[in-house]
């Protein structure tokens, strides 16, 4: 007997169902829906599991053979005839080869990467990527830019500036294409792609890209910062400051006033980052002369800690004397450790008697420096063993 009839035939059941508000037919329909859903999910799940296992088993030997073919051609004595090889492969093999190419392009650099880029060309990745930049959706563009970066194959700049500035991720990828291709306009167009008309912060990949293009030439970055930092969101300002801290190629004529001005920014995080950045510019006497060290008595402990780090990095006698003076007055115990940390590398520049207020922090720092040195030396010793 069908369930509906079964329920309908039973008067207490009908009564209760009516109380609950369910006509028996609803239950029957519900049961049918659930049963079909169950059967579908089960078939789909088991079927997909079987398919994936089959595909894995099929692709593994293909991948092995392709890897060996790829390495033979890459490191063989003959020039690799990528076109001929690719045309001899099936669609599945070409797809697997693309995946292998992705792996190797990330690991190799220099001539090897250049030779491998030819394989990308043969697989049609370059032309496909350019097409996707113009007509693709977000993920198409992201993957296209990634391929172009890996292949060191920069497209037309107009294409990048027109189609690849919608999100911070696309901006960073576009700049990365130029950086990895080492184009002449890598720094100028790279910074333009990253920062022009952009107020949003980047991911770590974006920050790293900004740093890489800044390393090639910091002038465009500083020019953008000077002109636009007031329009940026605080998070972006912090990131540009962080990048500026890490730059090693700054020339003496660079305008760094914007950093100094940020020392009086209302945001504690920006003030902290500004001191952190200035730690790298101790060589710039002109800049240092304009910094008011009395401002280091900031209300925020993290800002003070960053200020101490700056003085420690500057490291000359005048900075160390200032640091000593400030450190003994430091009210926050954790910040005192930051001060001791900044002072410790300059322990020969200070009187042997560490001030009482700093003693505990000093001992803590001293021990940790010692253990770092021991562990490093042992690691180096172990690494040098045959």
């Amino acid at each position: 007997m069908p369930m509906g009839e079964l329920l309908a035939a039973s008067s207490p059941a009908t009564a209760l169902l009516q109380t609950v508000g369910f006509p028996p037919r609803v239950l029957v329909v519900g049961a049918a829906v659930i049963l079909s859903a169950l059967i579908s999910v089960a078939v789909l799940t088991v079927g997909y599991s079987i398919y994936r296992r089959w595909r894995r088993r099929r692709r593994e030997p293909i991948r092995r053979a392709l890897r060996s073919g790829l390495l033979d051609r890459l490191y063989g004595s003959e020039p690799p005839d990528w076109e001929a090889w690719v045309s001899s492969l099936s669609a599945t093999e070409q797809s697997e080869l693309e995946s292998l190419l992705d792996v190797y392009l990330r690991q190799l650099a220099g001539e090897d990467a250049k030779t491998l880029a030819g394989l990308g060309e043969a697989l049609g990745i370059s032309s496909r990527s350019r097409r996707h930049l113009q007509t693709g959706d977000y993920w198409d563009r992201v993957h296209a830019l990634t391929w172009l970066a890996l292949l060191r194959d920069p497209p037309d700049r107009t294409l990048l500036l027109t189609h690849c500035t919608n999100t911070p991720r696309e901006r960073a990828l576009a700049a990365r294409v130029l950086y990895l291709s080492r184009t002449d306009d890598c720094a100028t167009t790279g910074v333009k792609l990253l920062l022009q008309d952009n107020t949003n912060s980047f991911s770590v990949f974006g920050i790293d890209t900004l740093y890489r293009v800044g390393e090639i030439d910091p002038e465009p970055l500083f020019a953008q910062a000077t002109a636009n930092n007031e329009q940026w969101k605080p998070a972006l300002t912090q990131q540009v400051l962080l990048v500026s801290h890490h730059l090693n190629t700054v020339v003496g004529t660079a305008n760094l006033d914007w950093i100094r001005q940020l020392l009086s920014n209302p945001s504690g995080r920006i003030r902290r980052e500004a001191y952190h950045t200035l730690a790298s510019y101790g060589w710039n006497q002109q800049l240092r002369a304009q910094i008011d060290l009395s401002a280091l008595a900031d209300d925020t402990a993290e800002v003070r800690a960053s200020g101490y780090e700056m003085l420690g990095e500057w490291g000359d006698q005048s900075a160390i004397d200032s640091l000593c003076r400030l450190a003994v007055k430091e009210p926050n115990r954790r910040t005192r450790v930051a001060a001791a940390n900044a002072l410790y590398p300059h322990r020969h520049q200070i009187p042997p008697a560490v001030p009482r207020q700093l003693r505990t922090a000093w001992l803590w720092v001293a021990y940790h420096h010692y253990f770092d040195a021991v562990a490093n030396e042992i690691a180096a010793h172990t690494a040098s063993q045959p």
């Binding site: 079964l6 329920l7 039973s10 207490p12 059941a13 209760l16 609950v20 508000g21 239950l27 519900g30 049961a31 169950l38 089960a42 799940t45 088991v46 997909y48 599991s49 079987i50 994936r52 296992r53 894995r56 990330r106 990634t146 970066a149 960073a172 990828l173 990365r176 990895l180 912060s201 991911s203 770590v204 920050i207 790293d208 998070a235 962080l242 890490h246 115990r333 954790r334 005192r336 450790v337 001791a340 322990r347 008697a353 560490v354 009482r356 003693r359 505990t360 001992l363 803590w364 001293a366 021990y367 940790h368 010692y370 253990f371 040195a373 021991v374 562990a375 042992i378 690691a379 010793h381």
Partner: protein, 636 residues
């Protein structure tokens, strides 16, 4: 029909209406959550398929992570766990092991394995935890720091790590968790994408029972051979790949597993760290972070990332599983009650208005209501108002729907990460999705009720977690290697998260009684170490001479233990004061000169008392609660 019977009938029918309505509402919500979870998973997979074209290890911008590993009586696994952590792929990491007053050889094992030396000075700032006895650094691994502290429980141990790490992020892990080698790189993804907003991120926890683990890494994934852990595999998949992903889609993740989660160190310090008086500190901290950050108008995200995986051992018997689930239930209720001000407040966004209320309705009330249903059914049958046909139809529909939702989670796994590669295992998982409805599910409602009563009684214990240890499932090669460094690999009972004082919880010990294995040290290393240490001490002493004499450390770890209170010799029945459900026989001796258990009371804390194994040679002070008592209970 008497008036009483009529009233009873009306009450039962009314309850039936409430239960059926509740069922409809909650399951509709579940379906929505599962669909949202599927959408989120699709996006996460897309995101995971893209790898930015740069080398993270050469980037100076990766945030540093301090991995905090609380350890209480983990002598069997701690060395392997630390070795496993040391091998994680990450550019900038620090490993902080917090020995939370272990009464076994946890610290000795660590000292021997990693050439630890004490940082012989006091910590220069306040750490809001139980007293820290000592901080150790490894002379072999720069990134390894060990904190040895008085017992204070898991939250206390985590707090010690949170306050001592200098890293921007910290990752809370359990000592018995195995983390995939690239898991840390993946779980920090939200912090890489939105460095300024991300405050917490958690990965997926999977079941390690029966997996092959080598060199601290899961090499081969297999389904457990027993059905109880098998059902838990399915439960974990459902919880992570449907539930948590759905909440993530709603921007309302309220739970990150305590076994594997990454947090912004400064934000956790700002809220005062982990709370001591809860047994589900992982749930509590996330809810409090939501509250604090919203109250202070700080823009933030709490994320769940499905790909990074940590592996944990699940209980293989009902007794242990029951303890664990009761604790989870109790902790959940505690946290909800504690943070009730968030509920239905628009200010707290989706977390306050949708996610937490749903969580409470589904997770807190769900099993209780279902349990009530199981009581109402026989009563209704007795009163002849139960339609058997209706009951069968309703049971089949609810069960079918429940199975559908479980299978949804399994499908998500197969569709995306497909770690269970053999189709036979997938069929097994589907079968467990059906099987759980016949007995297991009903048992869980009973556990929820017990958990509720424990909460109402003010129960605070963690309970014992019996584990086989990963050694049993490792290959012979690994077992041999592990044994060589003194790691127990056979069947054993270990104390999972059973930090006794957390919060005044029950105390357990490993039943393995191995002595620490000293590691032969390299002579050259020793000489180098001694010379360097002398130099550092010289510097330190120079600093010290100019200061006051206040150099003594605050540690006064010797406990004052006094009077023997029970003077009968022989077996006596005792109750564990930390866990009322625990009791058993112990052998008692009144004579300190003979071997046996002695009843002791801590003079400083009269409520703290317990049995201690005494041997005439043993002059150690302190209480040793737990495993011994339970061993006796087991054998009795």
């Amino acid at each position: 029909m008497s008036t009483f019977e009529q009233l009873l009938v009306q009450l039962l029918v009314g309850s039936g209406v409430v239960i059926v309505s509740y069922y409809l509402l909650i399951n509709t919500a579940y379906l929505i959550i599962h669909v949202l979870g599927l959408l989120e998973l699709r996006d996460d997979v897309r995101e995971g398929e893209w790898t930015p074209p740069y080398r993270p290890f050469s980037s100076p911008f990766y945030p540093g992570v301090g991995i905090i590993l609380p350890a209480y009586n983990e002598q069997a696994t701690v060395v392997e766990s630390v070795r496993s952590m040391l091998q994680l792929n990450y550019p900038d990491q620090e490993i902080i092991v917090v020995n939370d007053g272990s009464t076994d050889a946890t610290l000795e094992r660590l000292k021997a394995a990693f050439a630890l030396e004490a940082v012989e000075t006091e910590i220069p700032y306040d750490v809001p935890t139980e007293p820290i006895r000592n901080v150790y650094r490894s002379t072999k691994h720069e990134e390894l720091l060990i904190i040895d502290k008085e017992n204070g429980g898991k939250s206390d141990a985590l707090n010690a790590g949170v306050w001592l790490t200098e890293q921007e992020l910290f990752c809370a892990v359990d000592a018995d968790t195995v983390i995939d080698r690239n898991a840390l790189l993946q779980v920090v993804r939200p912090f890489l994408e939105e460095p300024e907003r991300a405050v917490a991120s958690g990965g997926t926890l999977r079941v390690a029972n029966n997996c092959v683990i080598e060199d601290g890494e899961v090499q081969e994934v297999s389904m457990p051979t027993q059905w109880l852990p098998g059902i838990q595999v399915m439960e974990y998949l459902r919880a992570f790949y449907s539930g948590r992903l759905g909440f993530d889609r709603l921007k309302g993740v309220v739970l990150i597993s305590g076994a594997f989660g990454v947090f912004r160190t400064d934000r956790v310090r700002e809220i005062g760290g982990y709370r001591h008086d809860t047994v589900t500190e992982d749930f509590d901290i996330i809810v409090r972070l939501h509250k604090y950050l919203t109250d202070n108008d700080i823009d933030y995200t709490v994320d769940f990332v499905p790909e990074p995986v940590a592996w944990t051992e699940v209980p293989e018997n009902f007794r242990t599983l029951g303890r664990q689930r009761r604790r989870w239930y109790r902790g959940m209720v505690e946290t909800i009650v504690e943070n009730r001000k968030i509920l239905f407040r628009k200010r707290y966004g989706r977390v306050g208005t949708a996610v937490l209320p749903f969580f409470i309705a589904a997770e807190a009330f769900g099993p209780l209501i279902e349990g009530l249903g199981y009581i109402i059914l026989p009563v209704a049958w007795y009163l002849d108002i139960l339609s058997i046909e209706f009951f069968i139809a309703f049971f089949l529909l609810t069960t079918g729907y429940g199975v559908f939702l479980s299978w949804f989670g399994i499908f998500s796994e197969v569709w995306t990460f497909n770690r269970y590669e053999r189709p036979r295992e997938v069929v097994q998982l589907l079968w467990y999705g059906i099987l759980e409805n016949f007995g297991y599910r009903q048992w869980k409602t009973l556990i929820a009720w017990q958990g509720l009563f424990e909460f109402l009684r003010g129960e605070q214990s963690w309970g014992v977690m019996e584990r086989k240890g990963f050694g049993e499932w490792t290959s012979e090669k690994t077992t041999a290697a592990a044994t060589a460094v003194g790691v127990a690999t056979g069947e054993q009972t270990t104390a999972e998260k059973s930090h006794p004082a957390a919060p005044a919880g029950s105390d357990t010990q490993s039943t393995t009684a191995e002595t620490p294995t000293p590691t032969a040290s390299n002579d050259a290393t020793d000489r180098r170490t001694a010379a360097e240490k002398a130099r550092a001490t010289e510097t330190a002493t120079a600093a010290e001479t100019a200061t006051t004499d206040d150099t003594s450390k605050s540690a006064d770890s010797d406990e004052a233990i006094a009077a023997t209170e029970i003077d009968a010799t022989g077996f006596i029945w005792v109750h564990d004061p930390f866990s009322h459900a625990e009791s058993g026989f112990v052998w008692n001796t009144p004579e300190p000169a003979t071997s046996g258990f002695q009843w002791l009371r801590d003079q400083r804390e009269p409520e703290d008392s317990g049995f201690r194994w005494n041997t005439p040679e043993d002059d150690a002070d302190g209480f040793e609660w737990g495993a011994n008592i339970r061993d006796e209970e087991e054998s009795s």
